[in-house]
């Protein structure tokens, strides 16, 4: 029984299974997904927090305009997760909980 209260795939993915890490957690993804979609499917959509209120950033436009999905990738900051294809072994860091600052 599909859990419709989550982000979910409704068609068989084209690419093979790969793993990547998000804030130290090892997660599964499919080659061909963007990092943003991979994070949402894995249940961890939060990309960081925003001063001054500290509100959580999650992808909003998924097309490179809103810049809410900025994450640190393999040590380099300010990558838009929605434009970045997920690759095997990629190390993604948000700035939540002291990660990736």
């Amino acid at each position: 029984m599909t859990d419709r209260s989550r982000f979910r795939r409704i068609v068989a993915p084209a690419g093979p299974r790969i793993t990547f890490t998000l804030d130290g957690r090892v997660l599964e993804a499919r080659l061909g997904d963007s990092v943003a979609v991979a994070m949402m499917l894995a249940g961890y959509p939060a990309c960081g927090s925003l001063p001054p209120t500290g509100r959580v950033r999650v992808p909003y436009c998924l097309m490179g305009a809103c810049h809410e999905c900025l994450v640190r990738v393999d040590g380099r900051s300010m990558h838009q997760a929605c434009l970045l294809p997920v690759r095997t072994g990629m190390c993604i860091e948000t700035d939540l909980n002291g990660h990736g600052s």
Partner: protein, 377 residues
């Protein structure tokens, strides 16, 4: 069309850092003040500056300028407190000292020579130190190996200049000042009764006193009231990075970390009046220098870049003058509107109010340019 009923006794032309400071000082001295400002897209040094409170580079060979800047720096803490109390806007003033980094022996020598000159000039009290690499590292742990050393002075600091700009405007408005945007002044015509008539796109305005604080436009306006405000416009470009965790405890002249964590990178100087608002090659050189100064910035992202024209006179010192031909007309021109803000709200307004330029300001009269020219002929 005249504007009856809004007769100001003083009109300040220009609503930038200098104009807003002077307008505030005058309205607090009981003048009825109107500020006439340009539109939203005008060239504005006030929105584009580096937000430094800087004395250490001022007035080599010109002790009057050093002293003028030193006086302003000393007045800043009280000035900030008063402005914050009047407006509720926090200025984030930090005045623990500032550094100029040297990335070569030649740069160190230049800094040492210039500082010695300021210190030796009569009447100057210039606390400063030349630091070697490890001494610089003690203050700025993130410096790279290319940094040979630095000039440090405890007089210097930085603040949030946009907050200052906002605060000056808010204080002016709350104190009864009248701000008119989108109202550039085409001409100023002195009358026989001692008043001035200003021609603007929205009609004529008459006033008893007029203060020219229009930045680059002062050069055009000054002769209309028997004044002279020569300006050599100098373009400066700035980049700002994403917000970063705090790592810079002191500002440098070319790189500082703001109160919200972003890093400002600047201090370019060119005189090309290019159509391009941002020259990517200049950004490239500044980026390279920033990385050599602080290698951790290599991976930091620039989120914006902009440029503006510094309102610089031929010798870099301010121009303050009261017209002898048409008393009541004043000009105020400088490229350090942030550092000098307390003086502009203070002594400069006293001078405008009384019509008497005090000795400390007399070195800034534009007659110094014509005298030099005359002595050459």
């Amino acid at each position: 069309m005249r504007h009856p009923g809004t007769a100001a006794d003083t009109i300040v032309i220009g609503g930038g850092m200098v104009g807003a400071s002077i307008a505030l000082g005058l309205v607090l001295r009981g003048h009825r003040v109107t500020v006439l400002d340009e539109g939203d897209r005008a060239l504005r040094a006030a929105r584009a500056n580096f937000a430094l409170l800087w004395v250490q580079s001022k007035g080599a060979g010109a002790p009057a300028y050093f002293n003028w800047s030193r006086m302003a720096a000393a007045a800043w803490p009280d000035f900030a407190r008063q402005l914050e109390a009047m407006t509720g806007i926090v200025l984030h003033l930090s005045q623990r000292g500032g550094l100029t980094l040297a990335l070569s022996g030649a740069e160190m020598d230049h800094l040492a020579t210039r500082s010695a000159r300021i210190a030796c000039d009569q009447g100057s009290d210039f606390p400063h130190e030349m630091l070697d690499h490890s001494q610089t590292r003690a203050l700025l742990p993130a410096i790279g190996p290319d940094v040979v050393g630095a000039l440090f002075s405890p007089l210097d600091g930085h603040l949030n200049a946009l907050a200052l700009f906002h605060a000056l405007h808010r204080a002016f408005g709350r104190s009864g000042g009248h701000y008119v945007p989108a109202s550039p002044v085409r001409t100023i015509t002195p009358t026989k009764t001692g008043t001035f008539i200003l021609d603007t796109p929205h009609g004529y305005r008459e006033c008893e006193r007029v203060v020219l604080a229009a930045g680059l436009d002062n050069t055009r306006l000054a002769p209309m009231v028997g004044l002279h405000a020569p300006i050599t416009p100098q373009r400066g470009q700035i980049m700002v990075t994403q917000r970063l965790p705090p790592f810079l405890d002191y500002p440098t002249n070319a790189l500082r970390q703001t109160d919200n964590g972003s890093v400002l990178i600047g201090n370019s100087q060119d005189t090309v009046m290019t159509r391009q608002p941002v020259d990517l090659e200049i950004d490239a050189v500044m980026a390279d220098r920033a990385i050599r100064s602080f290698p951790c910035l290599q991976a930091a992202s620039v989120v914006r870049s902009w440029s503006c024209f510094r309102v610089k006179s031929p010798d870099g010192m301010p121009v303050y003058d009261h017209s002898t031909l048409w008393p009541g007309a004043f000009v105020a021109s400088c490229h350090s509107g942030v550092t000098l803000a307390p003086n502009h709200t203070g002594l400069v307004c006293d001078a405008i109010h009384t019509g008497i330029i005090p000795p400390i300001m007399q070195a800034f009269s534009a007659s110094r340019f014509t005298l030099t020219a005359a002595s050459r002929s």
